[in-house]
């Protein structure tokens, strides 16, 4: 390979071509759907393009950070995240009845967002350190690392984010080798404690679950979102109504249709064929992520790559499940598809880590 000295081209060497191609394909679809869903709003389209450019730049940057440096960022980021969560609990700003925001003077900030990345980094760093000497206590300590931020976010209250964070932490423990009997035992215990959890849930949380069971019970209230999005998807049929031809979309029946409910617009205009194509693209991204994980030379790389991949698909599942009416309405965007800068940047930052793991093949000397 002819060597070039230009820094920009050197940076591109850390890009995983297959992953980039898949991501750009989904982003292309997203641009088309946001265009339709926003009624060709120039502000939305250009905003979306800017977000994409920014997020891709962040991804490129992260791809160039070697994994061993990334792993070192784990403990300080995790510690900072915990401090900020405590800060929220003590001084946080209440919005919409929940204490989630921290006013930093120049911007409002949700520390829980930081934890989404910091927790896997921390855990991956921890299990890397204890590679080859893993004992039960390491999993217990890992569990505590998971539970502390989980509980802090849960009592904000923000059940959705807490669960998503818990799931990503669990994936990491799972890939680190958490024994099956513990997993199964936990599952049984979890199922048994469901009624207790129900009792501890807030009214609005219970309502969302109930709404899922019978959206028609409140057709003009909270059930409206689910009803209209399922109508949109179902009316799309096999081939869809065509780009910018969805009546549910064009006539305002779909709520939040550039963000959380973008799949309803996509399903209406591109039909079942479109849905299959989109799910296949996601699966290809996951598959690529798992291949990267399998080939990764370090424990940190393996755990991060596998966790990030599974996490991505969890978001896809929760969002599409919610929009098509099989999961409760939680404010989770559809990865790579929904309009919104923060989520896209966080996501592509993760993809950048995947690429870093994929392209930094030599064993790091630690």
């Amino acid at each position: 390979m002819p060597r070039t000295n230009h820094w920009l081209l050197r940076g591109l060497r850390h890009v995983d071509g297959i992953l980039l191609l898949l991501l750009v394909l989904v982003l292309g679809i997203s641009l088309a759907v946001v265009t339709s869903a926003s009624g060709q709003s120039p502000a939305r389209i250009s905003g979306h393009l800017v977000n994409m450019g920014l997020a891709l730049a962040v991804m490129l940057l992260m791809a160039n950070v070697p994994p061993h440096l990334l792993s070192k960022a784990g403990p300080p980021l995790y510690a900072a995240g915990l401090v900020l969560l405590l800060g929220v609990a003590l001084f946080g700003e209440i919005r919409n009845g929940a204490r989630r925001w921290l006013d930093l003077g120049f911007m409002a900030f949700q520390p829980s967002e930081l934890l989404k990345l910091a927790l896997p980094l921390m855990l991956a760093w921890y299990f890397q350190r204890n590679e080859a000497v893993l004992r039960a206590r390491h999993f217990m300590i890992g569990g505590v690392m998971l539970l502390v931020p989980f509980l802090l976010i849960l009592r904000q209250p923000d059940l959705g984010t807490a669960l998503m964070l818990g799931v990503s932490g669990f994936y990491l423990l799972f890939f680190a080798g958490l024994p099956w009997k513990v997993i199964l035992g936990g599952a049984v215990l979890g199922a048994a404690s469901l009624p207790v959890a129900w009792g501890l849930m807030h009214d609005y949380q219970q309502k969302r679950v109930l709404m899922l069971l019978d959206p028609a019970s409140d057709p003009l209230g909270a059930g409206y979102h689910i009803i209209q999005s399922t109508i949109a998807i179902g009316s799309g049929g096999l081939f869809g109504k065509g780009w910018m031809q969805g009546t549910q979309n064009q006539l305002d029946f779909i709520p939040e249709r550039t963000t959380d409910f973008i799949y309803a617009v996509f399903g209406e205009e591109f039909g079942y064929v479109g849905t299959v194509l989109l799910v296949c693209l996601y699966l290809a991204i996951i598959a690529r992520g798992l291949v990267i994980a399998a080939r990764a030379p370090t424990q940190f790389g393996r755990l991060m790559a596998a966790t990030l991949s599974l996490n991505l698909f969890t978001y896809v599942f929760v969002n599409m499940g919610m929009v098509s009416g099989i999961l409760p309405v939680v404010g989770v965007p559809l990865p790579l598809m929904s309009y919104g800068g923060t989520a896209l940047i966080t996501l592509l930052l993760g993809m950048g880590i995947l690429m870093s793991v994929a392209t930094h093949r030599q064993l790091n000397k630690s």
Partner: protein, 630 residues
């Protein structure tokens, strides 16, 4: 830790990791299958259902109410009409948004608490995409204010709507009736008869009178605009239109001028009058006094006025012609006489000697004649002329109650006449069987005696009396009375005559009928009980007077009008037709507490005859109504 152990551990952990990767892949595959399965269910299996739901979301059928048909009198004068006025209407919206708009509107124009209450009630009752009226009959100034402030009144619309107006006033209320807002009972009825869809966009429905009985024709068919609407209910574009079919206009037999003359002739008396054309059954006039203003009811009557109307002792809401029940009294005598001849019980020349009373065999009870000392020798014709009670007591006993019942039933007594108005009473024509069924008691011979002069159980409406009298005038044709003569097609403007419905043709021997008719002509000649009412008429009248007792008179006492308070005085009855030789009009009059039929009811009938046959108008009645407009 030895390097070998570390390497062994590393190998084991790596193998385990690869196993976990496979498990993760399987997990992802399961989730993906779930998503695709759900999408398959929604988009393929249930596609038809959801495409329908999406279409229902998108397409709104906006009803277009048809114009209600007009009601015209026989000369084309308008009795019920429509006029256009502006109303302020609001589209449905989120409650907060709606309240803000309401507050804004109230700052601009006056909204009364009553209008607000009505709006909220209508809002609760209305269909999802219909606008709801807040204030009707806006002034030009209010329309201008609302138009200028439209930008800050989202969802408001100023619409031109049609309203109903009854030009004819209280005298016509019992004929034309009125429309009122569709209530829950109307809605239930519409639903049960499958007409609900046709009333989307219509707020009113006929409640009484012709407005009620001809509702289907007057209403027409609702049209629909198919609109594409967005989620907030705003129309984006029109897709197609099914135009409404206007209601049909009704032309009556009734003459507004004749109606006014009849009403005027009552003076301060209350009562009822119906005039029929004996050849068609057409109702030429139908008066029930007192009347009321039907315009009060159109947009909901206020509770105080309603209470006053409903609880008034004069009962202005009761149509006396259709629902007032009175003993026929002496007006039954021509029919009794005809029955006697037709059943072969009497011959025209048969006479009795009237001592002034009648007694049943083996009884000392005296059924008195109204004339002390009696009428002397009387045949049927004279018995009718002088209204001799004794003649008919005896005839009734010879006939027996059951034959009397069966014969009189042919003349609509005890049966509905079939007039084209709802709520008609059937009256009561007694019989042995009826008494057994109703009272579980045997029939007494004395009851037959008084039945012969129209007293006792027998109850009739003025309309039944008129229908029966028309049969004397037309030779036994029982024709169902009709108010509506013709209906006009809204597109071709052609008047379609309504059929004359002959309910029954009773075979009456002409010579028998002639005797009765001559008796009735004699009634109106000097020496007859109605002579005063016919004095100086340019045509001949045949009639019969009667009184309907309000208070029972004790045995041995005599009726003395002077000693009774006004409300206990007898009701005066009068039936007549003219010209007697070739009748074109039949009248039945009932004057409440009018005393003797000849003196109060007779002149009312005379005024009606005069106007109808000669065009003569009472001097005190000023020219009313407009002349024919088409």
């Amino acid at each position: 830790m030895p390097l070998a152990t570390t390497l062994k551990n590393l190998d084991r952990e790596l193998a385990r990791f690869h196993g976990r990767l496979k498990a993760g892949a399987i997990f992802v595959a399961l989730l993906a299958t779930t998503l695709l399965g759900r999408a398959f269910y929604l988009q393929i299996t249930q596609h038809d259902y959801y495409i329908q739901r999406a279409e229902n979301n998108r397409i709104t059928q906006v009803p277009v109410a048809p114009n209600r048909g007009l009601i015209l009198d026989r000369k084309g004068r308008i009795l019920a009409e429509n006029y256009s006025a502006y109303t302020l209407e609001l589209a449905r919206a989120q409650p907060a948004e709606l309240e803000a708009t309401l507050a804004e509107v109230s700052r601009l124009i006056e909204i009364t608490p009553g209008e607000l209450r009505r709006f909220r009630r209508l809002l609760a009752e209305s269909h999802e995409f219909e606008t709801v009226p807040l204030k009707s009959k806006l002034t030009d100034e209010e329309v201008a204010i609302l138009a200028a402030n439209r930008y800050r009144l989202p969802g408001t619309e100023v619409k031109a709507r049609l309203f109903r107006n009854y030009r004819a006033g209280p005298g016509m209320a019992h004929v034309v009736g009125f429309i009122g807002r569709i209530n829950d009972r109307d809605l239930k009825n519409l639903r049960e008869t499958g007409r609900e869809q046709n009333y989307r966009g219509t707020a009113h429905i006929g409640k009484t009178g012709l407005e009620q009985s001809y509702e289907t024709l007057l209403h027409g068919r609702t049209g629909f605009d198919q609109m594409e609407t967005d989620a907030s209910g705003r129309a984006v574009r029109a897709l197609s239109r099914i135009p409404p079919v206007p209601g049909k206009d009704l032309r009556l037999y009734l003459d507004e001028g004749l109606q006014a003359v009849a009403e005027h002739a009552f003076g301060d008396y209350m009562g009822g009058l119906v005039a029929l054309d004996p050849n068609t059954g057409g109702v030429l006039a139908l008066v029930s006094k007192p009347g009321f203003d039907p315009n009060l009811f159109i947009d909901g009557i206020d509770p105080e006025t309603w209470k006053a109307l409903n609880e008034s002792p004069e009962r202005p809401m009761v149509n006396r012609v259709l629902r007032g029940l009175y003993p026929p009294g002496s007006t039954i005598k021509p029919f009794m006489g005809l029955a006697g001849l037709e059943l072969g019980l009497r011959k025209p020349g048969d006479t009795i000697v009237d001592p002034g009373y009648f007694s049943l065999p083996n009884s000392s009870h005296q059924y008195r004649d109204w004339k002390r000392g009696g009428h002397g020798i009387v045949d049927l014709r004279r018995a009718i002329t002088q209204s001799c009670d004794t003649y008919f007591y005896k005839l009734a006993v010879d006939m027996g109650i059951d034959r009397m019942h069966d014969y009189l039933a042919h003349f609509s007594f005890g049966e509905k006449t079939g007039i084209d108005l709802d709520g008609e009473s059937a009256g009561l024509l007694p019989s042995r069987e009826w008494k057994q069924r109703r009272w579980k008691k045997a029939w007494y011979p004395g009851e037959t005696v008084i039945a012969g002069i129209g007293q006792g159980y027998h109850l009739t409406t003025p309309l039944q009396l008129a229908t029966a009298t028309a049969m004397l005038a037309n030779g036994g044709k029982r024709i169902e009375p009709r108010l509506v003569q013709a209906v006009r097609d809204p597109f071709t403007h052609v008047w379609q005559p309504q059929p004359v419905v002959v309910h029954e043709q009773v075979a009456i021997r002409p010579e028998d009928l002639a005797v009765v008719r001559q008796g009735m002509m004699d009634v109106m000649r000097p020496g007859g009980t109605g002579a005063a009412a016919a004095a100086g008429a340019a045509y001949t009248i045949a009639g019969k007077t009667g009184t309907a007792q309000v208070v029972g008179i004790k045995q041995g006492a005599r009726y003395d009008a002077g000693s009774l308070s006004l409300k206990n005085r007898d009701h005066a009855l009068f039936i007549a037709y003219a010209p007697a030789e070739n009748p074109t009009i039949v009248v039945a009059v009932m004057v409440e507490n009018g005393g003797h039929g000849g003196s109060t009811a007779g002149p009312i009938a005379r005024a009606v005859f005069d106007y109808y046959l000669t065009g003569k108008r009472p001097g005190t009645l000023k020219q009313e109504g407009s002349d024919a407009s088409d």
